[in-house]
Every structure is written in structure tokens, then in C-alpha cells.
């Protein structure tokens, strides 16, 4: 509760600050707000407070809130040098990101489907705008419109699902729904299509196949900073929402929805990994990689254990840190070379050892190489599904992971093994902070994940 309020107030303040042309104050203000929110997250740890039966700030919610806020913080740090001096929309930019963040906090802590719906929509609407915020950029326009049209379309399915679930159980409250499922042996047949439609709606939000089509185009077209936000924080929140619903309220019907979920998982892995292989642009490759990671994260739902939430958390954390590094470097490279092709990374390591190293760590983490957080995440996911001996699924995932090595290593190959024009990036201090912090987090989680595992 405090968290949402803090974030909203920060958003308002930033908006007003923008109005009064206090451009210098924007970033500090935002950071302070976010730190305060983070403080609230810590303060209410283990509180498990219910807010009007609408939100439940349990540890799951707090952990994901914390992760989202931390991710947003890092992304805000990347705004240094990002905007040109004449830009007037900076305050709105910040405000909308903060609004989206508020929406996400709702998504990770909702207890009632209305909160889920509103949270999702606050986030989505903000993102539609953010995707198109470069008004004169054709790609940005296209991304925005595509995202918007498809998003609205999928919202329809989500709502239809909610309606059916409501029709079957007579409530929007998660506990009530779960109770209903447990009490009634024969659930109303309306419930089943309802669950499936909600699965579809949420799969769209996290970019799982075959509802992933928006992802690559939107990620590519959006301003890189927004893509970073979308592919990391937004995705994390989407997963938390997914998990809250399916591993909570819908858990009693696990046997029913696990089969379609498996199909979605496999398709997602396949499409994400295989398509990423042939990309020329680093940014678009990252989009496909985000699809494939969605596939891995869905493993947590294939077999529900008490650790599912924690596992997704680690995975999402690992993925967030790694992606932020990747995108941060992408921004730097694009600023310098004007292109986001793999070729522009050629020979980058010579002049920018630190940047190259952190990007390498990020790629290794994304690929799931041991001693990075990404490995621990993947390991937990595999372990999770192996509890029911889903060996074939894991074998399939392994094959996909192998494909993954190819494209993640492409950028490493470009940076270290190819000769390029020897671009020297100008890396501002804040970027360095983000890169180092994320890389250190990635390695620390990779080597000693106990720090996080003991939290949840």
C-alpha cells in the first residue's frame, strides 16, 4: 500500500516538476521515491498484510515488488545522456514509467481480479504510450500501434476469461475462487474456458508463444530504454501475476491446465530460441531471447511446488540483471555507431574491457552458464519440473538451451574474436554503476544463491 502510494506520489511530483521545468530535479526525485518505496518493501517484509481484501503484501508480493523497483531504479540510472537537451517530454517519460511501476506493484500483490485487471491495464496503457513516445520515429509509432492493437485485443480475452471465472464461481476474490474449487468437486463448466482464456490473456502479457508475436516488433521499435523496461521489469511483473493466479487460485485445477501450458512452454522455447538464431540485430535477438526465457520461467507452473515462486524470482532476477546489462550496452553502442546490428559490436572488447566483460557476464548468464545467476535460475527450473520427472520436457529445454548458446555467444564472439573499427564507447558514470552492480549481482547470485534463497 505504502509502496504504491509512494510511487504514485513520486509520479505526480515528477509530473509537476516537469511542468515547472525543473529538469535537473527529475532524476533525483525519482530515485529518492524509488528508494523510499524500496525501503517500504523492506520494512513490511514478512508482514503479510491484507489491504481491503484487494491486495496482499505477502513475501511473494514484496519480493517481486522489490525486484521490479530495483530493476526500475537501474533503468532510471540509464537515463543519463539518454535524452537530448531539448527534449520536453522527459518528465512525462518518468511519470509514465512510474505509473507503469505502480500498476506492476498491483499485479504482483493483487488478491482480487479487479486489481489484477486494473494493474495490468495501468501498466499496459503506460507502455502503449511509452512505446510510441518517439513521435517522429516511424518504428516507434509502429511499435506503439502494434502493441496497442494486440494488447487491447488480448485484454478482451483476459476479460472474457475473468467474466467466465466469475460466472462459474461468483467471485473475483482469489481465495474465494480457490475455496470454491476445493469445495466443489464438480466445478461449473464455465470455469474451464475461463481459465484457458485467462491463460491466453496472461501469456500475451509475458510474450509466450503463440501469443508472442508482438514482442519482437515492439521491442525492436520502442526506444531502447523502454524496451529494457518492458523486457525486464514488465516481464517480471507479468510472471508474478501469472504465478499468483495459477499457482494460487487455480492450483486445484492444475491437472486441467497443465497440458495447454506444456504446449505453450514448448512452443515458446522453440520459437524463442530457434528464431533468435537468425537475427541480425542484437536488439531483436534480445526480444526473442526474452520469449525463450518466458518459456523457461513457465516451468515453475508446470509442476507446482512450494518453491515455484522463489524459483521464478531467482530466474526473473537473473534475467533482469543480465538484460539490463545487455540493453545498457546496446544503448551505448547505438549512441556511438547508430546501429544495433551484431556487426557494431565487432572488436568492442579492445577499447572497452569493462563494458565487454560485463556484457559477457550478462550473456553467459542469459545462456545459463554455471557461476552466473542465469544458471541457478535454469537449474531451479529444471529441478522444479524434474520433481515430477518431466524428463522429456527438460531434455527438450536442454536442446533449446544449446541453440541459445549460439546466439548469446554471437555478441561475445563479435566483441572478442572479431576485428572491428575499434569503437570506444563513452560510458557515463551511471552506466558504469549499473553495469558493475548488475554484473556483480549476477555473479554473486550465481556463486552464492543462498543469499536470495534464504529470503523466500
Amino acid at each position: 500500500m505504502n509502496i504504491i502510494i509512494t510511487i504514485s506520489i513520486t509520479a505526480f511530483l515528477v509530473l509537476y516538476a516537469g511542468l515547472f521545468k525543473a529538469k535537473k530535479a527529475l532524476l533525483p526525485l525519482t530515485l529518492v521515491g524509488l528508494f523510499v518505496a524500496l525501503g517500504f518493501v523492506c520494512a513490511s517484509w514478512s508482514g503479510n498484510e491484507s489491504h481491503f481484501g484487494m491486495m496482499q503484501t505477502d513475501n511473494f508480493a514484496l519480493a517481486f515488488s522489490g525486484l521490479c523497483i530495483a530493476g526500475t531504479l537501474l533503468i532510471f540510472l540509464l537515463t543519463q545522456n539518454y535524452f537530448s537537451a531539448k527534449n520536453d517530454n522527459k518528465a512525462e517519460y518518468y511519470t509514465l514509467i512510474l505509473f507503469a511501476l505502480a500498476g506492476m506493484i498491483m499485479m504482483v500483490s493483487y488478491q482480487n481480479m479487479s486489481m489484477l485487471f486494473i494493474g495490468v491495464e495501468i501498466m499496459s496503457v503506460s507502455l502503449y504510450i511509452l512505446a510510441g513516445i518517439r513521435k517522429n520515429d516511424f518504428a516507434s509509432n509502429e511499435a506503439s500501434l502494434k502493441y496497442f492493437l494486440m494488447g487491447a485485443f488480448s485484454t478482451g480475452f483476459l476479460l472474457f476469461g475473468i467474466a467466465l471465472v466469475y460466472g462459474a464461481t461468483g467471485s473475483f476474490d482469489l481465495d474465494a475462487i480457490q475455496q470454491h474449487l476445493i469445495d466443489n468437486k464438480a466445478v461449473s463448466p464455465l470455469f474451464y474456458p475461463g481459465v484457458i482464456l485467462m491463460l491466453i490473456g496472461l501469456s500475451f502479457k509475458i510474450g509466450a508463444a503463440p501469443f508472442h508475436f508482438w514482442t519482437p516488433d515492439v521491442y525492436e521499435g520502442s526506444p531502447t530504454l523502454i524496451t529494457t523496461f518492458m523486457s525486464t521489469v514488465v516481464k517480471t511483473a507479468g510472471f508474478a501475476a501469472f504465478l499468483r493466479l495459477f499457482s494460487g487460485a487455480f492450483a486445484p485445477l492444475h491437472d486441467f491446465w497443465v497440458a495447454p501450458l506444456l504446449i505453450i512452454v514448448c512452443l515458446t522455447l522453440l520459437v524463442g530460441n530457434v528464431t533468435a538464431l537468425f537475427q541480425k540485430k542484437f536488439k531483436r535477438m534480445l526480444a526473442y531471447s526474452s520469449i525463450s526465457h518466458a518459456g523457461y520461467m513457465l516451468f515453475a507452473l508446470v509442476v507446482l511446488t512450494k518453491n515455484s515462486g522463489g524459483n521464478v524470482f531467482i530466474y526473473a532476477g537473473a534475467y533482469t540483471f543480465a538484460s539490463i546489462i545487455a540493453f545498457a550496452v546496446l544503448i551505448l553502442v547505438k549512441q556511438k555507431t547508430g546501429s544495433d546490428d551484431f556487426e557494431s559490436y565487432n572488436g568492442l572488447a579492445r577499447k572497452n574491457p569493462l563494458t565487454a566483460f560485463t556484457l559477457t557476464v550478462a550473456m553467459l548468464s542469459l545462456a545459463g552458464i554455471p557461476l552466473t545467476a542465469g544458471f541457478i535460475g535454469k537449474y531451479l527450473m529444471f529441478l522444479n519440473v524434474m520433481q515430477e520427472y518431466q524428463t522429456i520436457l527438460v531434455a527438450f529445454a536442454i536442446l533449446n538451451a544449446l541453440v541459445g548458446f549460439y546466439y548469446y555467444f554471437r555478441v561475445i564472439v563479435a566483441m572478442y574474436f572479431k576485428d572491428g573499427q575499434g569503437v570506444e564507447l563513452n560510458t557515463p558514470l551511471q552506466y558504469k554503476v549499473v553495469l558493475v552492480v548488475s554484473a556483480v549481482a549476477t555473479i554473486v547470485i550465481g556463486i552464492y544463491p543462498d543469499v536470495i534463497l534464504q529470503l523466500i
Binding site: 481480479m113 479487479s114 485487471f117 486494473i118 491495464e121 496503457v125 502503449y128 504510450i129 510510441g132 513521435k135 517522429n136 516511424f138 518504428a139 509509432n141 509502429e142 511499435a143 506503439s144 500501434l145 502494434k146 496497442f148 492493437l149 487491447a152 485485443f153 485484454t155 478482451g156 476479460l159 472474457f160 475473468i162 467474466a163 467466465l164 466469475y166 460466472g167 461468483g170 467471485s171 473475483f172 464455465l190 519482437p216 516488433d217 515492439v218 525492436e220 521499435g221
Partner: protein
């Protein structure tokens, strides 16, 4: 009025569900067949309205006002979405002089 509604309470819930499903599907087909972004958007509105009606019917059926409250939220969303959506369309139109979605295919592969 009261009398009328009382009389009409005999419609089976099934038929509401079917109606909503049909309208919803028409919305989906609209999205599929049209190329004009605004018309597509209107089809989406059609889908949302189908959901609204369904929620209301369920709400009446289970005698629970929360369903209707939810409809209210959906309307709020619809308003917000329309505002944003139309401004996006306007923005796109400014740049491309078209709102044909088939023109939007620079981002691919």
C-alpha cells in the same frame, strides 16, 4: 418498467452466454478482417462490450453487485484506452498519412 423486467427474467442464462460469445466472436472476426486501425479498435470495443454484458448477466444470476462494479471498471478502462488508442492512431497517421495496418510492416523478421 419494473413489470417489464420482471417478465423478462425468464431468459435462460445460457442464452446470454451464447449472445455474448457471438458478439465477442464478431468482434474477433472484425479484428481479423479489417485493415483500418480505427475499425479494428471498434471491433475490440465490441468484444469488451460483450464481456460487459456477460458480467452483468452473471452478476444478476448470482445476485452479486461486484460483477457490475467490474463492468464499471471495464468502462473506465475503455475510456482510457480509447483516449490513448486514438491518440496513437492520430500520431501514426501524422507520420504515415494512413491508418492501414498493413502499412505497418517495417518491423519484421
Amino acid at each position: 418498467m419494473e413489470n417489464l423486467t420482471q417478465q423478462l427474467q425468464g431468459v435462460p442464462l445460457n442464452h446470454y452466454i451464447w449472445l455474448c460469445a457471438i458478439i465477442f466472436t464478431i468482434g474477433v472476426v472484425g479484428v481479423l478482417t479489417r485493415r483500418n486501425a480505427i475499425v479494428i479498435f471498434m471491433s475490440v470495443e465490441l468484444m469488451l462490450n460483450a464481456v460487459n454484458l456477460l458480467l452483468t448477466a452473471f452478476s444478476v444470476h448470482s445476485n452479486d453487485p461486484s460483477g457490475q462494479v467490474f463492468v464499471f471498471f471495464i468502462m473506465a478502462l475503455a475510456a482510457a484506452e480509447v483516449a490513448v488508442g486514438l491518440s496513437i492512431i492520430v500520431m501514426v497517421y501524422r507520420n504515415t498519412k494512413s491508418i492501414d495496418i498493413n502499412v505497418l510492416n517495417r518491423l519484421k523478421w
